[in-house]
């Protein structure tokens, strides 16, 4: 530990990598925190958790009893057992008792990405509400045509303040906080939309996953969706080195002629597989796609439009922080990793076991080590992003989980689900932990009477 600090001081290790080392060590030792308790004010299952994007300090939760609450993750409100356990009570909460409170379950609660002055809740009572955090009053509300499953705001939007809302309705609506009206209505899904995710690389790109099993990519500047992910369109490997090589060549024109790049990728891939049959079909497909895409980008009303990403409902979407990959979870108990550039299924197998099928789930990622946290029934599993192997298992909940949220500033994981608890998983064996390891509490010692 001290050695690492010294080498950072002397410049032998870059400060960045030092931090990354520390973080990765901490992340890999995540365990149920005994020192930190969130006192949950919710009386229903917690459906949504999010740490604010500006400070990484305030945790927003929305629950089935129509309540939403904000917690301070860093400052405890009180403590128990002479400071051993820090109790975090909610800073405030809005529930049914509130004059503007939601009447039914809050399915989604997200922070306004710019600051913590606003947050957005979507509920089964068909309303999306924008709340002023400081006064705990609803300032804007949007009436949706059906139950709201998921709301999302773009973390890097500089030029718009749109809330993307997936509802029971087939259309995805974008609600503009600035005007208080719907700015877009995106139609294409054939069933309700369970999950919505903004791209982390472009502020105009929106991913939606529907109950029809399709994942659609939208560019909100244009009409219609520009891509429908097909689980059968695959690429082997996350991003093969050859791709990188070729991508360098076509880097200049990468954005504009993505189809060309993909085409090349396809051929490469088919080379890899070495299957003649596959080759022919994929190349033919690719050519068809290419021509069609050129021809009818707006609309994409064709057979391709019927492609599915999952058998069943797409329950969760998560874009990686670098914006290059999209992770999706479906009611077929699969988690798929998609290359956003090519729109291909990377065929990575995540050892998920069973996943929740009826409800939207919320996944979380960490950068370094690249881990994916997925709520798998009563546990949260951490998968290696590129291996798909289970690296960590978080057992502690007694009922199925809906959501998990990774706080990258503190390297803490927050999970919650139907048992109403919000559990904190924090790095164990931390520096301070090592320091007071010696003064172990007397009550928790070995006690052999004979």
């Amino acid at each position: 530990m001290w050695q690492a600090i010294q080498s950072r001081e002397t410049g032998r290790t870059p400060s960045n990598s030092f931090a990354n080392q520390l973080k990765s060590r901490r992340i890999s030792s995540l365990q149920l925190s005994n020192r930190k308790d969130f006192v949950s004010p919710h009386r229903g299952s917690v459906n949504s958790l999010q740490v604010d994007l500006t400070e990484g300090r305030y945790l927003l939760s929305g629950a089935s009893d129509g309540s939403a609450a904000v917690f301070d993750t860093q400052r405890a409100t009180d403590s128990e057992a002479s400071g051993l356990i820090a109790k975090h009570k909610c800073v405030f909460s809005v529930d049914k008792g509130h004059e503007h409170g939601h009447r039914f379950a809050v399915s989604s609660a997200v922070w306004y990405p710019i600051d913590t002055g606003l947050f957005v809740t979507g509920s089964f009572d068909h309303l999306i509400k924008v709340w002023d955090t400081n006064t705990a009053q609803a300032v804007v509300d949007f009436k949706m045509p059906g139950k709201v499953y998921r709301t999302a705001m773009s973390s890097l939007a500089m030029s718009h303040t749109l809330i993307a809302a997936g509802t029971e309705d087939v259309q995805v609506r974008l609600c503009d906080i600035a005007s208080g009206a719907f700015s877009h209505t995106l139609s294409g899904h054939r069933d309700g939309v369970m999950s919505v995710e903004w791209s982390t690389s472009s502020e105009w790109v929106l991913y939606t996953g529907g109950c029809d099993g399709a994942i659609r990519f939208w560019d909100i500047r244009r009409a219609g969706c520009f891509r429908v992910l097909d689980q059968s369109v695959t690429q082997l490997g996350v991003r093969p080195p050859i791709l990188k090589h070729t991508a360098v060549n076509s880097k200049v024109s990468a954005e504009k002629s993505s189809s060309g790049g993909k085409n090349r990728l396809k051929t490469l891939q088919s080379k890899h597989t070495g299957s003649q049959n596959m080759k022919g079909s994929s190349s033919a497909k690719a050519s068809v796609e290419k021509s069609r895409q050129k021809r009818l980008h707006p609309g994409m009303l064709s057979t391709l439009d019927r492609a599915t990403a999952h058998y069943g409902v797409v329950t969760g979407l998560k874009a990686t922080n670098d914006g290059m990959y999209l992770l999706s979870a479906g009611s077929d108990s699969r988690v798929r990793l998609w290359d956003t550039q090519s729109g291909c299924n990377t065929l990575l197998n995540f050892e998920t076991g069973r996943l929740q099928t009826s409800k939207a789930i919320q996944m979380a990622t960490s950068d370094d080590p690249a881990l994916l946290f997925v709520p798998c029934m009563k546990t949260v599993k951490a998968f290696g992003m590129w291996s798909g192997r289970t690296t960590l298992m978080f057992r502690g909940h007694y009922e199925s989980l809906n959501t998990c949220c990774f706080n990258s500033t503190d390297q803490e994981l927050y999970t919650s689900g139907a048992d109403r608890q919000i559990l904190v998983w924090s790095p164990g064996g931390s520096v301070e932990g090592e320091m007071d390891q010696d003064e172990e509490v007397a009550e928790d010692k070995d006690n052999w009477s004979d």
Partner: protein, 670 residues
């Protein structure tokens, strides 16, 4: 590596052996062995935890129960074991509590129930002791308690409640002690006075006895005088002995009265006063009051009193009475007789509330505490007249107060018993829990339960059983032919010898009126002429078999018959008068009834008078009216029945009663 494997085999074997039993508990020796094995090796602990978790999955509740018991033992001891178990805590809980509907506890159900209760109990225990250090335990506990709403034994709360209850009990005990202290303080003077008086009386009584016992020479003086003269120690010793011997006074008819008094007083002193003083002392020792000085002074005084009582007792013993023995044996019969008589009066007077205040006042002045009627009595006596004999004292007391005598004569006789000691008392009594203290045997025992006075009175209510007075049925005693007397005992008549009459030793009847009345009523019908003067001696004398006897008998019978006749006549006259009276009464009643029943009563009042004056007329009119009434009623019923019967039966119903009609119609409908 090998050593670890060996150890591993050992602990696994031990655990499996321990869980194979069908007992409700783990074999303590095996358990000890397991603990011993795990104590010195972390790898053993790891292996043990793994094995135990595997065993928990066994599809039999008995195995799970035993495994859980072992887990609990180790859980409470080893930290490593705890961390290992806690990692799979939800699994452990679901396997032991069986709260998941998909994973119910396996058979047999009885053991499964035990397993579940045990698991819940352990969870609570673990949560209490280690919950702070293991979030998992807290979570599991919280989930089972708040989400699944399982019922926990709630050890902590129970303990807290017990503590609270104990405090409350102590508080209440203190309160009771304090109130007792108050009452003691209030009645302290009286008690002291009484005791002193009693002691004084005993002393006086002793003096009297000793005086008399030594032929009028006071012992003390004698002792004093002789003391100087007798130098020799040996002689003095003899002298002292003899003196002492002479102290022991013989009870004679002369000093008997004094002895009685002494005995009474001694009994009172030992039985009541000493006890109450000792109670007072223990109370003062236990009580916690602010007024310490009073308490201390009271305590001192009580101790002094006790000492003086003991000294008195000693003195008595020296004088030859042993009070305690006196209490035990003594001349009980005689004493008790007295007590009984006295008691009857007391007991009778007290409960009956109609009793005038006088006897109660008497009781009151007798003794304030009224601990026993015996005490009452003796104090009463002592206050009335201590020198004279008890009996005379009582007699005089009785005769002196006619009201009291009257009350005593009509008061019910009560049995002697403990209830007499707290007669009419209004103090609460603490409940007796003896035999109920066994933990959870008969439920919780409230140590401070008090029984209110009215309840005590109710409980002391005495039931008396009526006991028939046994009467000796006299034997027939008729002389038998074969000699001897008939020994049959019949109430009125012997089947062989006729009515039972008093007979003398040889079997001859002793004739008196009652026996003759029945037997010879018919035979001697009407013989007169014997004067009344003869009657008187005949009753008295027990008749022998002299010839005069028959004549006398006959004469007597005749006289009786005459008297009987007269009586008969008188009776007839009386009967007639009575008849007349009854008639008159009937008449008036009937008239009243008639008046009440008629609406036009005012108008026809006189007419009715007239009508009722003559019997015949009255009867006729009455019957007429009755007939009229019935016909009116019948008309309606007839019409009704004819209507009813029309459709079914053409039979014309006579004016029978309604029941018949109904029966018929109903039969038709059937």
């Amino acid at each position: 590596m090998e050593g670890r494997d060996d150890g591993g085999g050992k602990v696994i074997g031990l655990i499996e052996k321990a869980t194979k039993s069908s007992a409700q508990e783990v074999d303590p020796r095996l358990l000890k062995a397991i603990k011993l094995t795990l104590r010195y090796s972390d790898s053993e602990v790891r292996l043990g935890a793994k094995t135990l978790m595997e065993l928990m999955k066994h599809n039999h509740s008995q195995v799970r129960l035993l495994t859980l018991l072992i887990i609990d033992e180790l859980f409470m001891r080893s930290k490593l074991f705890r961390t290992l178990i806690v990692d799979k805590f939800d699994q452990l809980l679901s396997l032991s509590v069986g709260f998941r509907s998909s994973l119910p506890l396996p058979a047999p159900p009885a053991v499964a129930t035990t397993l579940r209760t045990k698991a819940i109990e352990f969870l609570e225990k673990w949560n209490l002791s280690f919950g702070l250090h293991y979030k998992e335990i807290r979570l599991g506990f919280d989930y089972l308690k708040n989400t699944l709403k399982l019922k926990f034994p709630d050890l902590q709360a129970t303990a807290a409640r017990r503590q609270r209850e104990r405090l409350e009990r102590e508080e209440r005990t203190k309160e009771i002690l304090r109130s007792k202290f108050e009452s003691l303080r209030d009645g302290f003077g009286v008690l002291k006075g009484e005791i002193e008086e009693t002691i004084k009386e005993i002393k006086e009584g002793l003096e009297i006895v000793q005086w008399r016992g030594d032929d009028g020479v006071p012992l003390a003086i004698l002792d004093e005088e002789d003391y100087e003269e007798i130098r020799c120690s040996h002689l003095r010793q003899i002298r002292m002995d003899s003196l002492k011997q002479s102290d022991k006074v013989e009870e004679t008819s002369e000093n008997r009265v004094v002895f009685d008094v002494l005995r009474e007083q001694g009994k009172l002193l030992m039985k009541k006063h000493l006890v109450s003083v000792q109670e007072g002392i223990s109370l003062l020792i236990r009580v916690d009051v602010s007024d310490n000085r009073t308490r201390d002074s009271m305590l001192k005084e009580l101790i002094d009193i006790r000492n003086s009582i003991l000294a008195t007792e000693k003195k008595c013993e020296q004088a030859g009475f042993i009070i305690s023995r006196m209490i035990d044996t003594g001349e009980k019969e005689e004493d008790e007789d007295d007590i009984w008589e006295e008691d009857d009066g007391k007991v009778g007077t007290d409960p009956v509330k109609k009793v005038a205040p006088l006897p109660r006042v008497q009781n009151g002045e007798g003794s304030s505490l009224q601990s026993s009627s015996e005490a009452k009595r003796s104090t009463l006596e002592s206050s009335s007249n201590k020198a004279s004999s008890t009996k005379t004292a009582r007699r005089s007391g009785e005769s002196g107060d006619p009201l009291r005598d009257k009350l005593i004569s009509e008061a019910p006789v009560m049995n002697w018993g403990a209830q007499l000691s707290n007669w009419d008392s209004t103090t609460e009594v603490r409940a007796n829990h003896r035999g109920l203290e066994v933990e959870s045997h008969w439920g919780r025992v409230d140590q401070d339960a008090v029984i209110p006075a009215d309840k005590i009175a109710e409980l002391n209510l005495q039931a008396t059983v009526y006991r028939e007075e046994r009467t000796e049925i006299p034997p027939c005693h008729a002389p038998l032919k074969k000699g001897g007397l008939c020994h049959r005992r019949d109430l009125r008549a012997c089947p062989f010898h006729g009515p039972i009459v008093p007979r003398d030793d040889e079997g001859n009847p002793i004739i008196n009126e009652s026996s003759l009345e029945e037997s010879q009523n018919q035979t001697s019908s009407s013989t007169t002429g014997i004067s009344q003067e003869d009657d008187a001696p005949m009753d008295e004398t027990t008749s022998d078999s002299d010839p005069n006897q028959l004549a006398r008998q006959i004469a007597k019978q005749a006289l009786k018959n005459i008297r009987e006749k007269d009586r008969e006549e008188l009776r007839k006259i009386a009967k007639r008068a009575k008849h007349a009276k009854v008639k008159e009464h009937n008449f008036s009643v009937l008239r009243d009834a008639a008046l009440a029943s008629t609406s036009k009563s005012a108008v026809i009042d006189e007419e009715f008078d007239r009508v009722f004056a003559e019997r015949k007329n009255k009867k006729q009119t009455f019957s007429l009216a009755r007939r009229k009434k019935t016909t009116a009623k019948d008309r309606i019923s007839e019409r009704l029945s004819s209507n009813r019967a029309k459709g079914t039966k053409p039979k014309q119903l006579p004016q029978g009663n309604d029941d018949e009609k109904y029966r018929e119609t109903s039969a038709n409908h059937k």
